[in-house]
Symmetry: D2
Subunit: 98 residues, 4 copies
């Protein structure tokens, strides 16, 4: 099952600057073979369900190893079975109607 997801990860208890941690999670996603598309409030990924969620687990684990006592993620997860659809398809579909 393919999934398109949006991951917003917040390490808690490591101060106010979080970008170092976000960057490490991006690298975890890339090493999982995903092509994360970073935006101002999260990062988009698309891929097989198990690949995406194994990578997310890796993000939580590595942020804890870096010293974050708590890690909080907000995630949007979309699956569809009626037809194939990429992240770019979703964007294009809206932009054509603007």
């Amino acid at each position: 099952m393919k999934v398109i997801a949006d991951i917003a990860i917040i390490p808690i208890g490591v101060g106010v600057s979080l970008s170092k941690y976000i960057a490490v999670c991006e690298r975890v996603l890339i090493e999982a073979g995903l092509e994360p598309n970073l935006h101002a409030n999260g990062t988009n990924v698309e891929g097989e369900w198990d690949v995406v969620f194994t990578a997310l687990k890796g993000c939580h684990e590595i942020l804890h190893e870096m010293g974050a006592p708590r890690v909080s993620t907000n995630m949007r997860i979309g699956t569809r079975i009626d037809r194939p659809q990429s992240m770019q398809d979703k964007i294009d579909s809206v932009k054509q109607k603007l």
Copy 2:
């Protein structure tokens, strides 16, 4: 790794009444050995990471089998390594300060 999570699942393309689908997902969570705590905008679960996410995958799969062409989940995911904490601990901790 233990996780406390909040799952809000929306089947898309099945009309306006979603409770039948939410109920089926609750049952998937229960059959996974979790004790979901349903609230007005989602359901809380706590357990081992892999148990929670395997159950979530089961929710998406069964909603597709029930005829939902698209399924969208919003999920809050929390892990912590500084100390054990249950869902009830989290609630109690706030209520003591009210």
Copy 3:
């Protein structure tokens, strides 16, 4: 326009224990005339749109006044015009189908 919402607020840069801040936000919601229903990963409220969002702004403002340099909220917001529905109705509707 009535809204049913779920608010999960995270002050960033104030250490690992957040319950003091969550409790203050609960009080802001109560003082706005709302009856927040706290759960393990957020709090549910129902009311007029402007009341809910004015209260949420008050939460961000008071957490900043308490010293949080950053405040991050994840919110689920639901409106419907086909029929009146309370938070309890939503829960009952699912539970009847379990």
Copy 4:
């Protein structure tokens, strides 16, 4: 108070194709003077708190007028008072560390 937000809006009960509704909400945000940055799972905006939330209310209202009986939004909302920060600053800050 400035806010950086990420809005993911789902009209419920209007079938499986949602892009027409998303496009209308983008236009509401643009007409509010915001510069929404659409991505595969939502749209990012930055601006004054009241401008952003008045526009979001407009999105819910117009989607109901278009026939959606229910509208569900998931929103990430960030405020900070320690220093000014734009959406592009947030992205650049992570990318510099990749």
